[in-house]
């Protein structure tokens, strides 16, 4: 009987472990966005985009940058380009919903503008990435969207269980 109870206890503990691994939120690090920016512009070509401020951000997403903690935004530098890199840090995670909605609106508008008109642009827009963890949210349109997403996540996320397991990530 003791053996049975012990086995059952181990089973429960194992279940708790599996659930914690599956359901735990991604943990993030606090990194000033200026630091991300420096690493970003060093690591990637910013061709097709230029650094932009709150005004352009408002115009593109219909959101007020002042509502959020920090903004890093590269906007298309000419109108036939769709390359974009947006990284926001919010004050309150409840704001993520409205930002996500703003990003999706922006993406839809851009897709409509180039639909049936610019095939390369449409392809990039279809491959656009939206990523979010903790108080951060990013929106990326680029030929290198995958790599830029990896870069952003590596920079801001604490490496997860699986990443540690496979020896990936860790402090830069």
């Amino acid at each position: 009987m003791k053996k049975v109870l012990l086995t059952e206890l181990i089973a429960v503990l194992l279940l708790v472990l599996v659930m914690v691994l599956l359901l735990s939120n991604k943990r993030t690090r606090e990194v000033p966005l200026a630091e991300v920016d420096a690493a970003f512009s060093a690591g990637f070509s910013t061709e097709g985009m230029e650094k932009a401020g709150e005004m352009r951000f408002k115009r593109a997403f219909g959101l007020n940058a002042a509502d959020y903690q920090e903004l890093l935004y590269y906007t298309p530098d000419n109108t036939m380009s769709v390359n974009e890199y947006l990284l926001l840090r919010v004050k309150d995670e409840a704001q993520l919903t409205e930002i996500r909605a703003g990003i999706e609106r922006r993406l839809e508008t851009q897709k409509k503008n180039f639909d049936g008109y610019g095939t390369d642009q449409t392809e990039l827009l279809n491959k656009a990435k939206i990523w979010s963890a903790g108080p951060y949210i990013a929106f990326i349109v680029s030929r290198e969207a995958d790599a830029q997403l990896d870069f952003t996540a590596d920079m801001l996320e604490e490496p997860g269980f699986f990443a540690r397991l496979f020896g990936k990530g860790g402090k830069k």
């Binding site: 109108t79 036939m80 095939t119």
Partner: protein, 379 residues
């Protein structure tokens, strides 16, 4: 029973292994002329793309996009749809005569109000120039009799009526419906394979505009066909085919010897001496022959001795209409709000336009969310 089942199994195996092998050995395509879009390439493989499932999603797109004989399978699918009674695909109707028309969907009310408010505020801000609004009906409302029986579509006439009624009085509404309807029977006003209007329709619109705007020295035009093999966007969007490709015409004015003009694509740093980019006739989207397609801003300066200068705020319907305007103004500036990111107020104040023309087709206008953003700029 056994031999027959064995054959069935054999055929199945041949089919899936055969196509799989063909896919494996056939090089990937980057672009599909039939669909006019870039095809999905092999997705990026990393721990992250696997964990968030994006690798698998894109893998399915990739496998479908690069599938052997994809174009043949697509035609087969379209045949099948037509056979079972479908007359619509992706919001495009296939009419009795084989021409294609875009459906008009119920517009978003909130967006309508906001756009209208932005236009009103803009016209109140600039009392100097004469303002005109030309809202061009689409094929569905000019040729309703061609639509497949019972095909549902929103009422464009009601939409235009409502919009012209709501427009501030300071903007003159140019109603093309009488002129277009009168010409509809004898003239092909819309491409059968594309969502744009033809240059013939644009000429009718220009005659209407000329009267209202008081242009008097309109030169005679020579009509000439510059392409006979235009298969437009509605075909690639819907997958339906059209009985014959469309022709593209242009009207060349008989201008005085000493008249010349330059077309500047400011953002692209390009300058041309003509409205037409004949190189584009070799490409798929031949409608781009007009100005090489859409640009955020085009500035046309002419040698005309006149004080009148025009700003056109427009969608792509304007592209084949603009050449008619060129001989009438000292300068014509063209802004496409979908791609225009600069400050419209700076433009307005620095240039002192005498006329402002808004030109949109109903389908694009009803869905557009860029015009209000550009006009609201300062607020």
């Amino acid at each position: 029973m056994k031999w027959y089942r064995r054959i069935a199994g054999f055929l199945f195996i041949i089919f899936i292994f055969g196509l799989a092998a063909a896919a494996l050995f056939q090089p990937d395509r980057a672009y599909s002329p039939a669909e006019k879009r870039n095809l999905t390439q092999f997705p990026a493989l990393s721990l992250r793309t696997i964990a968030d499932g994006s690798f698998m999603d894109r893998m399915e797109d990739y496998a479908a996009d690069q599938f052997p004989l994809r174009d043949t399978f697509m035609r087969l699918k379209t045949r099948l749809s037509i056979l079972r009674g479908s007359v619509e695909s992706q919001g495009v109707y296939r009419c009795e005569d084989g021409s294609l028309m875009e459906r008009f969907d119920a517009p978003d009310r909130e967006n309508y109000k906001e756009t209208l408010a932005a236009i009103s505020a803009f016209s109140a801000r600039y009392k100097g120039p004469d303002m005109y609004f030309m809202l061009v009906p689409n094929a569905v409302s000019v040729y309703p009799e061609k639509l497949p029986a019972h095909a549902p579509t929103e009422d464009q006439n009601a939409y235009i009526d409502r919009f012209y009624k709501d427009l501030p009085l300071s903007i003159r509404a140019l109603d093309l419906r009488n002129d277009l309807n009168a010409a509809a029977a004898d003239t092909q006003l819309y491409y059968a394979s594309d969502h744009h209007w033809t240059t013939d329709a644009a000429l009718i619109a220009f005659m209407n505009y000329k009267k209202t705007a008081g242009l008097d020295n309109v030169p005679p035009f020579h009509r000439s066909v510059i392409a006979n093999d235009f298969t437009g966007s509605l075909v690639s969007e819907s997958g339906f085919s059209v009985p014959a490709p469309d022709a593209i015409t242009v009207y060349l004015p008989e201008e005085p010897e000493d008249f010349y003009y330059t077309v500047s694509y400011t953002n692209e740093n390009l300058r041309r001496a003509s409205c037409y980019e004949t190189e584009k006739l070799k490409e798929d989207d031949k409608y781009q022959v007009f100005f090489g397609g859409n640009h955020p801003i085009i500035e046309i300066n002419t040698s005309l001795d006149s004080t009148r200068s025009l700003l056109v705020i427009k969608d792509s319907y304007a592209n084949c209409f603009l050449p008619f305007l060129v001989p009438e103004y000292r300068s014509v500036t063209v802004v496409d709000p979908r791609y225009y990111y600069d400050d419209i107020d700076v433009l307005m104040e620095s240039r002192g336009f005498t006329d402002v023309l808004f030109l949109y087709n109903v389908n694009t206008f009803a869905e557009d969310t860029n015009l209000k953003t550009v006009l609201k700029n300062a607020q």
